[in-house]
């Protein structure tokens, strides 16, 4: 890290500390926690774009899958729902996978000719209806079990941090599927494929109530850290808060946030260390050789397609991990909250602003952009107050301007991205 890089990090730290002093330490820590998660997402995208030039605009989907991983691992199982339709749903899913695998087999085994598409169509249509015949009643049965509180299968009741790994694995699995199809004919069609799959993942999460309650949301996810109310009842904690001269309620929220920050920071540091090590290894050198001159790398017998698939899966898994962490931090899983601008394109802004191809850059971008994302609204509100101060109270224009402040953040993100692209196209911390 050069002195310039270090001072950039110091500036971001000062911005967050300023939030602590001027607003509250609670808000500052909230920014830190989401900044850490954003930094991890940015790391994931940076692996794909920065090191392999892969254009993933379905980050949202992988993040949401990560959240699903946390839910299905950590939530307690709903026994009656399992009894009502658990095995049947699983067999329906197996049937679905079998149909598709069978279709692929048929396509490969059968000879070219008019018979092949005909047989394939019949196979797929039959498979689809069979699947629906098994699937639909099971889903109805599960969703009928106390729909107001559960109406889904629940999870496995395992520790939530295990769910983070599961989230990463789910994202990796999805990435494998997409990458297999969309990477490396003569050219890729990854961009449109990821854009589409992300929307589909969100549609599934909104609709498949049996899986994660759909738009009814899953709330009350177990935590890896203590609960505020428990802390406030612990004599030991109260004594320590007293010693620091803090209100016990504030102290408990700060403590919980600090715990999260600690865990997240460890994971972030581990990821940075891992990716830096990987980059310096022969594997990393090869990745860069491929990126900088694919033709030459191919001529040297490197399997470009396989490398691209690898790094696409790795990057997506990191995004999934971040998504699981975020769902845990929120304590709830809300499918309708996943919006592409926030979860895909904002992460891209982080990577580009921070510096494509540089892990530290991605981390810096994650923190900085998240800080702006949060703070543009109060800043904008202040600005609008100033701008409109000359106008009469209650004039429609003034009301409109004040009401519209919330949308300033999108505008600001666009302006930041364009400014950086134009005047510092390699980002704040360029690739060495």
């Amino acid at each position: 890290m050069t002195r310039r890089d270090a001072s950039l990090f110091v500036i971001v730290a000062a911005l967050i500390a300023g939030t602590g002093v001027l607003q509250s330490w609670n808000s500052a820590l909230a920014i830190v926690n989401m900044g850490l998660i954003s930094a991890i997402m940015a790391l994931g995208v940076n692996m794909q774009w920065g090191y392999a030039g892969l254009f993933n605009i379905g980050v949202m989907g992988f993040v949401a899958l990560g959240g699903l991983g946390a839910v299905i691992t950590a939530m307690p199982p709903v026994e009656p729902a399992w009894a009502a339709g658990g095995p049947r749903v699983l067999s329906a899913l197996a049937l679905g996978v079998g149909t598709i695998a069978g279709a692929v087999m048929l396509w490969r085994r059968m000879r070219k000719g008019p018979l092949r598409p005909a047989v394939l169509t019949v196979w797929l249509v039959a498979g689809f209806f069979l699947y629906r015949a098994v699937f639909d009643p099971a889903v109805q049965a599960i969703e009928a079990i106390d729909p107001a509180a559960t109406g889904y299968l629940g999870g496995l009741g395992l520790p939530v941090m295990l769910g983070w790994a599961v989230g990463g694995l789910l994202a990796a699995g999805a990435a494998w599927l997409i990458g297999k199809t969309a990477l490396g004919l003569r050219a890729d069609y990854l961009a449109i494929a990821t854009l589409g799959i992300a929307e589909i993942i969100i549609a599934i999460l909104k609709n498949e109530d049996w899986l994660s309650r759909g738009v009814k949301n899953v709330i009350g996810l177990p935590r890896p850290v203590p609960y505020e109310v428990d802390l406030q009842e612990s004599a030991e904690f109260l004594a320590q808060a007293e010693q620091l001269g803090l209100d016990p309620v504030i102290a408990s929220t700060l403590f919980v946030k600090l715990c999260y920050a600690g865990i997240f920071a460890v994971i972030l540091l581990a990821l940075i260390w891992l990716s830096e090590t990987a980059l310096k290894s022969p594997w990393g050198r090869m990745m860069r050789a491929i990126r900088d001159n694919e033709t030459a790398a191919e001529a040297m017998g490197k399997n470009v397609k396989a490398r691209h698939l690898q790094i696409f899966i790795l990057g997506s898994a990191v995004c999934g991990l971040a998504g699981a962490m975020m769902t845990t931090l929120d304590g709830q899983f809300i499918p309708s909250a996943y919006q592409p601008l926030r979860f895909t394109f904002l992460v891209w802004v982080m990577v580009i602003v921070g510096g494509s191809g540089n892990n530290l850059g991605a981390v810096l971008g994650g923190f900085l952009i998240w800080f702006f994302w949060v703070q543009v609204e109060p800043l904008g509100a202040f600005l609008m107050e100033v701008v409109t101060s000359g106008m009469t109270d209650g004039s429609p224009l003034k009301t409109h301007l004040l009401d519209s402040v919330a949308h300033m953040r999108l505008l600001t993100m666009g302006v930041i991205l364009l400014l950086v692209l134009r005047f510092s196209p390699r980002g704040l911390i360029p690739e060495r």
Partner: protein, 336 residues
Amino acid sequence: MDFLNAFVALANFVLIPATAYGAQLALGALGVTLIYGILRFSNFAHGDTMAFGTMVTILFTWWFQSMGLSLDPLPTALAALPFGIVVTALLLLGTDRIVYRFYREQKAKPVILVIVSMGVMFILNGLVRFIIGPDEQRFADGERFLISARDFKEITGLEEGLAIRTTQGITIITAVIVVALLFWFLKSTRTGKSMRAFSDNEDLALLSGINPERVVAITWVIVAALATIAGVLYGLDKSFKPFTYFQLLLPIFAAAIVGGLGSPLGAIAGGFLIAFSEVSVTYAYKKVLGYLLPENMEPEGLVQLLSTDYKFAVSFVILIIVLLFRPTGLFRGKTA
């Protein structure tokens, strides 16, 4: 009779809505494909350009309405449309001047322009929400139906009604006119041919004395018109909501890619292919089958292949299938 009823139901709920939707997607995809052909990148801001153009048109519509201007029985928005197009064209030309031109001079790689268009997308998205708000707006006025279901039933004596909304009729007629004009322009005018030449072989176009900046400017103006028309037609037919327009990006890209990026004909074919599959896969066929099947075989469920929430999945699956088997799209685009 039952067969006729079934067909009318199908036309009413699938064929007509899908045709209108397909026309809207086709117009959107034409804009995407033109930018891809001439400026050589996929414009992520296209959905938001449509939203911007529609917003301006809505604002003019409100203004005209407040002055008592009306085209009754046609929607007032049609009178506002030219103004929406002009303002959007000015916006796009301004964006090109301030943002994109620099990268052209730098001979920037297309993927850099894609990222630049993300920035423009954010700005337009914020701008539209800032000006008109994120909420749904309905701005269709005038006569609601060309043929209402009741009239149709009375005229034909059929059990099933066929309604054609004015907006659907306008969509289809406008789309036909716009597409005809566009193809005439590209095929028969000097400027249109120079655009095709530029798209085909940029260096040779320069050697022939074609001015690239002029080609680019004209492209933006045409794209502004296409995007605004597509957006206004969609908004009249359904409703205007900034986020919905942003989300139209996926089916529009899918349409342009399925058709073969860079091919105007492909964009149209792609638009209709995507629209028809979306609507027909997510339609509940209970009613249609009810007419066709004997009494005792009538289906119990809705007979819906996929819930409407999965409509994006349909565009996506079609896209993947086409790309797997025909990597250049239906009409060989510039991507071969």
